[in-house]
């Protein structure tokens, strides 16, 4: 039962190797999509190419469906998956500013890495800027602390906000995505360059859209929230996991400070 790490399947040292592997795949697919190119990325803001939206929405939906089906079949304990807490005000302001940074700089944080390794100097400058921005944030953090922790709504999901079960939410998200795909393709046809836009047969697209809606509909009917996860094995608390390779100097630390606490690290 997943998440494997939380059930002690492997240790911290291996988790770092796994991070490298997951990162490799992540960077690889981003470059495949053309996300190392800022003109391709920012084309969405000029209504010419919605690849960013298509990739993001599709990834979100595939993963969302995967998580809910895994949960339904008892393969993953969602209670042990790190859920990002909601601090609504800093998230709204942060989102708006990140959006401005995106269209101004041409990248978002991960895509700038992909751009840099494919030789783009502006990508490297963007990364340097991000580090300066992080330092700036930390330096003025005492003044921002109040705002940073404002609007704390806890670890809430869309299901809590709208008070409907996650199966129906998933179905609505699928419907919204299919609607969005249809709409942005219409817009692309109008404003985009038809030679560079991806081609695809309408038949395949219709089938895929139908499959997506079907998968959402099944979830809405079976309602995965009915199932209360009962872990057969007691999970190992992350802080109890020690590293396999420990330097002698590390033994002088208190056990608490060695522990790998995933909750301390932010999602991004």
């Amino acid at each position: 039962m997943g998440p494997l790490y939380k059930f002690g399947w492997f240790d911290h040292a291996y988790s770092l190797q796994l991070a490298g592997l997951i990162g490799f795949m992540f960077g690889f697919v981003l470059e495949r999509a053309g996300f190392g190119n800022p003109r391709k990325l920012t084309a969405i803001f000029y209504l010419r190419d919605f690849a960013v939206l298509k990739v993001m929405f599709t990834a979100i939906i595939v993963c969302m469906l995967g998580l809910l089906y895994f949960f339904f079949f008892g393969w993953i304990d969602l209670g042990r998956v790190y859920l990002l807490p909601t601090f609504i005000w800093p998230q709204i302001v942060g989102g708006l500013v990140l959006g401005i940074g995106f269209v101004m700089g041409g990248y978002c944080p991960t895509t700038s890495v992909v751009a840099t390794v494919s030789g783009k100097l502006d990508g490297l400058i963007f990364i340097i800027g991000m580090m300066l921005g992080s330092v700036l944030f930390a330096e003025i953090f005492p003044f921002l602390k109040g705002f940073y922790t404002s609007g704390n709504m806890g670890k809430i999901r869309l299901t809590d906000v709208f008070n409907i079960n996650s199966g129906i939410i998933a179905f609505l998200v699928c419907l919204m995505a299919v609607g969005a795909y249809w709409f942005v393709e219409k817009v692309e046809q109008k404003f985009g360059d038809k030679d560079t836009l991806p081609k695809g047969s309408p038949k395949v697209k219709r089938t895929a859209a139908g499959l997506l809606i079907l998968l959402g509909l099944i979830l809405a009917v079976v309602n995965p929230d009915r199932i209360i996860a009962k872990p057969a094995i007691p999970a190992i608390k992350p802080e109890k996991q020690v590293e396999r390779v420990q330097k002698p100097s590390a033994t002088s630390e208190t056990p608490d400070s060695i522990g790998f606490k995933i909750v301390d690290d932010e999602g991004c």
Partner: protein, 169 residues
């Protein structure tokens, strides 16, 4: 650019599966902006260790004796750099250049890249994540704040895109 880029829907499905794999194995999603905050912290720690330790935000990344760089997301970002390099290499897309629209000079483009980077680095810390760590990961978990954050990214970018049109078009 010898190869055409892949179909975005296909890439989206694969990216979703990678994200699912990350959740299944690690219980957490993707991300990258925190790794730059960590690298910056490591830099500050190197230059002014006392200052870094005294700062309420930097000190979050400096716990115990471990380097701020020994973190899951830092390894993920190193992996992403290698993966991107491999993909660009097999498609002959590695080329030293400054990516920009036809009607903007190199120096203005680089200044804007720096400005955009500063805004993004700052905003990602404020929002506790970026496009991948907050929007992608959180939205797949149906986290409320992540959905709001994602729509705010689009809102911020669309609202200001007009002013940067000469940079890209």
């Amino acid at each position: 650019m010898n190869d055409r880029y892949s179909n975005p829907y296909v890439i989206g499905v694969i990216l979703g599966l990678i994200l699912l794999f990350s959740f299944y194995t690690m219980g957490r999603g993707l991300g990258s902006s925190a790794s730059f905050a960590r690298i910056a912290t490591a830099g500050v720690k190197l230059v002014a260790p006392e200052h870094a330790k005294a700062n309420a935000y930097f000190s979050k990344y400096i716990k115990g004796k471990r380097s701020p760089l020994m973190a899951w997301l830092v390894f993920l970002t190193i992996g992403a750099a290698l993966g991107g390099l491999f993909s660009a290499f097999i498609s002959n897309r590695i080329k030293g250049e400054v990516a920009r629209g036809p009607s903007i000079s190199v120096s203005i483009r680089l200044w804007l890249a720096l400005g955009g980077g500063i805004l993004s680095g700052f905003a990602a810390r404020l929002a506790r994540g970026c496009t991948s760590g907050q929007a992608l990961t959180g939205a797949a978990e149906l986290a409320f704040g992540s959905w709001v954050f994602m729509f705010c990214i689009f809102a911020g970018a669309y609202a200001t895109a007009y002013f940067f049109r000469k940079e890209w078009l």
